[in-house]
Amino acid sequence: MSFVYFIFIPMLAAFLIPFLYKKVSGIHTGWFVLLVPVVLFILYTTFLPKVQNGESFSSSFDWIPSLDISFISYIDGLSLLFSLLITGIGALVVLYSIFYLDKTREQLHNFYVYLMLFMTAMLGVVQSDHLISLYFFWELTSISSFLLIGYWYKRDRSRFGALKSMMITVFGGLMMLGGFVLLSIMGDTYSIRELIAQAPELANHKWFVWSLVLVLLGAFTKSAQFPFYIWLPDAMEAPTPVSAYLHSATMVKAGLYLVARFTPIFAISEWWIWLVTGIGLLTLFWGSFFALKQTDLKGILAFSTVSQLGLIMSLLGAGAISFHTGIDDNSIFKYAAFAAIFHLVNHATFKGSLFMIAGIVDHETGTRDIRKLGGLMSLMPISFTIALIGSFSMAGLPPFNGFLSKEMFLTGMLSIPEFDFFAFDTWGILLPIIAWIASVFTFVYSFYFVFRTFTGKHKPDLLPKKAHEAPMGMLISPAILGFLVVAIFFIPNVIGDTLIKPAVLAIQPYLYSSTEEIDIHISAWHGFKLELWMTIGIIVVGLLLYWTLSKWQPLYEKFPQRFSLNYLYDRLMDLSETGTNRLSSKYMTGYMRSYLIYMFTGIVILTISTIFIKNAFDISFATLAPIRFYELIIALVLVAGTITILAAKSRLTSIIALGAVGYSVALFFVIFKAPDLALTQLVIETVSVALFLLAFYHLPKLNRHENRMKFRLGNALVAFGVGVMVTIVALSAHSQKLVPSISAFYEETVYSEAGGGNIVNVILVDYRGFDTLFEIAVLSIASLGIIGMIRLRLTKKKEVNRIENK
């Protein structure tokens, strides 16, 4: 079964969407779109039983065989888990969007086309086994995310956020491409599986650390890790279904996927462990700390997403430690990867539902500002229940799935100082402390999010709309996710055995050879261990901080704007824009003569210096034919004409003299038996003289500028240089024949191969047809440019006249 084509189903569906939107305007387009993720979800579920036993599948088709580039879809535990997330959450989000986006007011076809494009891209990222096609899909997710964030493109903030996310993620993507190229050179293959197979040899290569850092840059920018997270809060300008889908459940997890996928290659390096764990924890703390500064519901969720992504990232880093400790060790590291994937699934469920609730609140009250909200509990009881479930899970409270993975996370961090490699036994003690503090803040912002919105005093006069419960259809998706949050707590091992263990097998192939060997059993109760006391501590301190929140929240405002990363980004963008503008305006003067001088000077310097460096300067008059009398006369006419052009006081004289020069060149072509050139030259001369005469009316009078001595001296130098260069090249080329002339080849093949008799024309249309094709393309572009310059100016003039006439 060629399941590689499944990836492209959403993209093919995207072609139908505009027609469905236009032709079937009675039905919301979303209902048709919903079929795609649902069908794909079912298709991918059929892989589940076999993948669960540790099997993997691969299917491919060639894309650019000459460059060894192909699409390879590789389905193992990890990519199947992600594919199910993408299609499963995708289906719920499309269902939600049907009620969120009004079919009469919104540009639905744009929205769903972008969304389907994203789905293809994301499936491609997680299934590609080929580095180049992985990169291709990776950038496609950036582009579709750009389009979706800028969906309401008339808003300034949307465009700003879209550009910011694009800038940062594409920067990371390019870095990652560099890492991929290094990897493919080191391993002499583009296949990730083959790279993993030769991981030990790669580690000794001198570029190993470079490729590691570059790949991590790609992962960190995509997964919004510190200091690149700044694009994610601004990406919240996207419609809420997009935020729930791309910016919490799937796209931002592409970086986590990448780290997980490359763990078998890079885990051997201490750089990898320190960077992934360290940056992950820093992001976890940073995100949770600044979440409390936000007043926008989606802003809080954005920072919380940043922080949770950091948590998963740090777990993946800790999971890489198991590469060094091995399977026999009883320490927790071998469970860390399991915990990472488990939390990834949990996060997708609770954060997805929370985003949808934030969207519902926005939709039904008209604002997302937490300062205006409050007391919605009695008005929106169902939304409140779902939000409560999601928030408590995020805070790590039982009986919700977040509690389980949070416990595993704490266990993992606590055992890090036990690890006695790479200075972890000394500095490692910091990690559990940071983890604990971050968890406290996570607890506080979870409470902040749900209780400030739904309890307290209702302020109806501040709300743009009268608040009421959302329609049932809108509540289905978050309710399903909320149900999963609770269900996973009670049956964690079902999820663990079917989804997570196969994924762990893909991340840690060096530990396990089959899923049965993974001896992990999730249980809610471990006894009174340190982890439990830490959780109790989190709850106590968290509640304390939440109650005193209004006292210390203003402290955030004291944080100076000048030191924030956003300020840095704005300055950087500003600097690059004005800087390049200033740089280019230094030499782009707007005068044609300046540009001609640049070009001619450049050509002269390059050519003459090449001739001297290569010692190609060689003149011999031995092989030349004698100069005939009429050739001399034509040459004299040529010179006289040229001097007339320069000396003439009126332009008309110059134009006519230029024509004379052109016709004498044509005569030369006739004498030297080049009828094609002569013909072309004659016609060109005629047309260009006519053109000059036309343009002549519009040219300004010869001005003083051209009479200044300095101006003329510079021009004379350039002109002299060009003349010398052309003469040297012509003479040297004639005097030395290093390679046999190509004309013999043309003479032989022109009739037999190309079926023609006129070599010049056959060169134009056949031998060097590419040149001609591009030349006519350039000609067409030039004519469009002239239309733009002249006709657009005309309309402007008319407009000015019209205004004056009024």
């Binding site: 094609d676 010049v760 001609t772």
Partner: protein, 140 residues
């Protein structure tokens, strides 16, 4: 450019057709004798320029109601299409094909995909030249 030159106008009416016929001849001759799409196109446009010199822009655009921008686009598409068509026959991009046929009246002639490509070049050259001249000529 308001002209009222009877001699020029009368001559032009005859010469124009000679130029156009010659340009068509040159275009078809191209593969075996001097000529080709580029020169042919330039000759055609020089014929139209002659019309422009004898009459004014408005009269000429009444005589030849051609949208030269569209002409350029069609030419470019023909050339690109000819080049790309080879992909369909599973040969590399830009592979030309030719063969000899017995045609009524004309006898044995070669038919060549390069001529189609050259037709594109011809159209682009006429289109571009006339676009430029028309735009500048109309601009007062």
């Amino acid at each position: 450019m308001k002209t009222n030159d009877v001699i020029l106008q009368t001559t032009t009416k005859v010469v124009f057709f000679i130029i156009i016929l010659f340009s068509i001849h040159i275009f078809f001759a191209g593969h075996y004798a001097p000529g080709g799409g580029f020169v042919g196109g330039l000759l055609t446009s020089s014929g139209i320029i002659l019309l422009l010199l004898a009459f004014d822009l408005k009269t000429v655009s009444n005589m030849l109601p051609i949208n030269y921008t569209v002409m350029t686009a069609i030419g470019l598409l023909i050339s690109l299409g000819t080049a790309a068509a080879s992909i369909v026959f599973n040969v590399p991009f830009f592979t030309h094909a030719f063969d000899y046929f017995m045609l009524p009246l004309l006898g044995k002639q070669s038919l060549h995909s390069a001529a189609l490509f050259d037709l594109g070049v011809y159209l682009v050259v006429v289109g571009v030249t006339m676009t430029i001249i028309q735009s500048i000529g109309e601009d007062e």
